[in-house]
């Protein structure tokens, strides 16, 4: 089994690159949304300087749809979607493991439905509909985020499922935890917009003994 994981782990850099590319795309979509909306406002007050983009509102909304679905797929990889973690501390590890797998499968099933039926819907609407403000642009692109979301969800859920299964065979490095459960730490990190490094620093300050124990264990 460990041999299988060694081979499968070679796919991790591919996922890392995909993550970085999609994250960059999401940032660019957000920036484009901000700029176009500001353009709409400025052109209203200074019509002689800058023309109003009549397509502005529809394009902003479409870009937001793409950002919403792509970033949601990234959140699957980070494990940062909000979930009920109240009972995590009380639950046996085996039950938690089973629930993680169940959650992965449920989200993946939803992803498949979104991919298949979303694609049908986008194709059907695209055949007849056009954007009001951009008549050359098919409305297919307005509904395409749904199958795109489905596809992205499946891809990142596969990795999540793999990681959960792997955790049953290979013990992960837990790191300092501030006395919080793993999911509580994830919630704290995401809600406070702290990255993994920052939250780890906070926990190390709170619980330096863990870091020392950790180093000792690694030495041994």
């Amino acid at each position: 089994m460990p041999r299988f994981f060694t081979i499968a782990d070679k796919l991790k850099p591919v996922y890392d690159v995909a993550y970085r590319v999609i994250m960059t795309l999401c940032k660019l979509l957000l920036i484009a949304d901000i700029l176009i909306t500001s353009w709409i406002v400025i052109s209203r007050y200074f019509p002689k300087i800058i023309d109003a983009p009549i397509w502005g509102e529809q394009i902003v909304l479409t870009l937001m749809s793409y950002m919403a679905v792509l970033s949601a797929a990234l959140a699957i990889r980070k494990g940062s979607h909000i979930r009920m973690t109240a009972l995590d501390r009380k639950m046996p590890k085996k039950v938690l493991f089973s629930l993680d797998i169940l959650a992965d499968l449920a989200v993946m099933a939803l992803g498949i439905v979104m991919l298949v039926y979303g694609w049908r819907q986008a194709k059907m609407i695209g055949r007849f509909g056009r954007y009001d403000s951009l008549p050359w642009l098919s409305r297919f692109w307005m509904y395409f985020p749904i199958p795109l979301a489905g596809g992205a969800m499946i891809i990142f859920e596969l990795e999540s499922l793999y990681n959960h299964i792997k955790s049953a065979f290979v013990k992960p490095d837990d790191g300092p935890t501030c006395g919080l459960s793993e999911s509580e730490l994830e919630t704290a990190a995401v809600e406070a917009s702290l990255d993994d490094k920052e939250i780890k620093e906070i926990c190390e300050q709170a619980d330096p003994s863990h870091t020392e124990d950790d180093k000792e264990a690694k030495k041994q």
């Binding site: 909306t37 406002v41 985020p145 809600e191 406070a192 702290l194």
Partner: protein
């Protein structure tokens, strides 16, 4: 059992089951809506259609923009300046740093609109400052987390935009104005609680009040506070929509953070956008999925049925208002804020309006209830963050927060039964 009842059971039952099975709430909402649609004989394509419809609202664009503005200002070094301003204003009182913490949260909340960001940003400065000055760490953490809820009420708050869009027909400008007094009431209530504890424990006073120092700090903080002015004044006067004002405020925040406060470089700005995307990843998909869920609720007449049920329990306005608060508080203990607003607004708002509560006042009630929920175990994101930032075990923080829960409940009851607290400022605009 009728087909409609069965569909309702599938919708609500499967949702609750999946939440307890730890399926991410956004996807639990989507899957339960899908199952319900299938039980109603609808095509699964309706799910995608409703999701796109839900997210294709120009008003909702204010949500990502307000979050971006908060992140840029938060990482741009605004916290220290607002703390200095609050210190100049209330630091002279007994338990001065606790008061500073509470007042700084009021200012900071106006900019970030997020209790979690407030706790992480102000807490990392205020809690060490307070403990160095002789305050107990659990008390300092409790003050930080409870005061962070002011930010949810003080405009601009993206949760208010989510509520206004879900409720439909609620003016975002009026809702923004409605938040100021309840936010101030909450701050005063927490300050009274802190003062009593500070006197009992003999916590120190700060420097005496000096008008010159206050004016100096006000001048320094002016650029940050002006972002709030752009949004609120722009929306209230009708110069911009909430979305437009929030986009302009993002650009303004960028200029202030990079060129005036110099707390961010352009590289830092690019990195900050990653934090924005991380937060938006959770919120936007939830809004999209909740649209499909809301579609099912409406098709199945769940709001009418819920209204009939609750109004059948009692016809007393007081009892029903208390029941609404109890339901929201209970949900707040087990769920996060955005899903509660998105899922319960279509169900509970008709009940609230039927007993004479204005939708604007109900918006304030729902936000305050959810804010209290963020601080309560078992699911309290702000509690977790406070515990991590303050380096105090969660159990100890909860114990130290008990008196402050009381302060918050008092504020909630006043907001519920004295409509003028929420409605007076919006009424001036009509």
């Amino acid at each position: 059992m009728s087909a409609e009842s069965l569909s309702i059971l599938i919708l609500l039952g499967s949702f609750l089951l999946m939440v307890f099975l730890r399926i991410p709430i956004a996807y639990a909402v989507g899957i339960s809506a899908l199952l319900c649609l299938l039980s109603m004989g609808e095509s699964p394509t309706t799910l995608g259609k409703q999701m796109v419809t839900g997210i294709s609202s120009f008003s909702l664009m204010a949500v990502p923009f307000f979050i971006t503005m908060g992140v840029l200002m938060g990482t741009g070094g605004i916290s220290e300046k607002l703390i200095a301003l609050a210190n100049a204003l209330v630091g002279w009182m007994r338990g001065g740093l606790a008061m500073v913490n509470i007042v700084a949260s009021y200012f900071f909340g106006g900019i970030s609109g997020s209790a979690a960001a407030d706790t992480a940003s102000l807490g990392s400065i205020m809690i060490p400052m307070m403990t160095d000055d002789g305050y107990d760490a659990d008390f300092s953490t409790a003050v930080t987390i409870t005061s962070s809820c002011e930010g949810l009420l003080v405009p601009p708050s993206h949760n208010m935009v989510i509520y206004a869009t879900t409720a439909g027909g609620v003016s975002i400008g009026a809702l923004f104005m409605a938040g100021y007094l309840p936010g101030a009431l909450l701050a005063i209530s927490l300050m009274i609680g802190s003062y009593i504890i500070s006197v009992k424990r003999n916590y120190p006073k700060g420097q005496p009040f000096r008008i010159k120092n206050f004016l100096k700090q006000l001048l320094v903080s002016f650029w940050a506070l002006a972002a709030v002015l752009i949004v609120v004044v722009g929306v209230v006067l009708g110069a911009f929509t909430a979305t437009e004002s929030s986009a302009i405020a993002v650009i303004y925040s960028l200029i202030v953070s990079v060129y005036i406060y110099k707390g961010l470089t352009w590289k830092g700005v690019w990195e900050s956008f990653e934090k924005c995307v991380d937060t938006l990843a959770i919120v936007l998909i939830l809004i999209a999925a909740s649209s499909a869920f809301g579609f099912c609720l409406t098709r199945l007449h769940v709001p009418d049925l819920a209204a009939q049920f609750i109004l059948g329990v009692s016809d007393s306005r007081i009892v029903i208002a208390l029941m609404l608060n109890a339901i929201l508080l209970l949900l707040g203990c087990i769920m996060d804020m955005a899903p509660i607003i998105l899922i319960t607004t279509p169900i509970l708002l008709p009940i609230a309006t039927s007993i004479g509560i204005d939708p604007i006042q109900f918006g304030i009630m729902i936000v305050l209830n959810c804010g209290i929920g963020l601080l309560t175990p078992p699911v309290g994101a702000v509690l977790f963050i406070g515990s991590a930032v303050g380096k105090v075990p969660m159990e100890k923080v909860v114990k130290a927060t008990l008196p402050f829960y009381l302060c918050m409940i008092v504020a909630l009851i006043l907001v519920t039964f004295i409509p003028e607290i929420s409605m007076w400022l919006p009424s001036l605009l009509r």
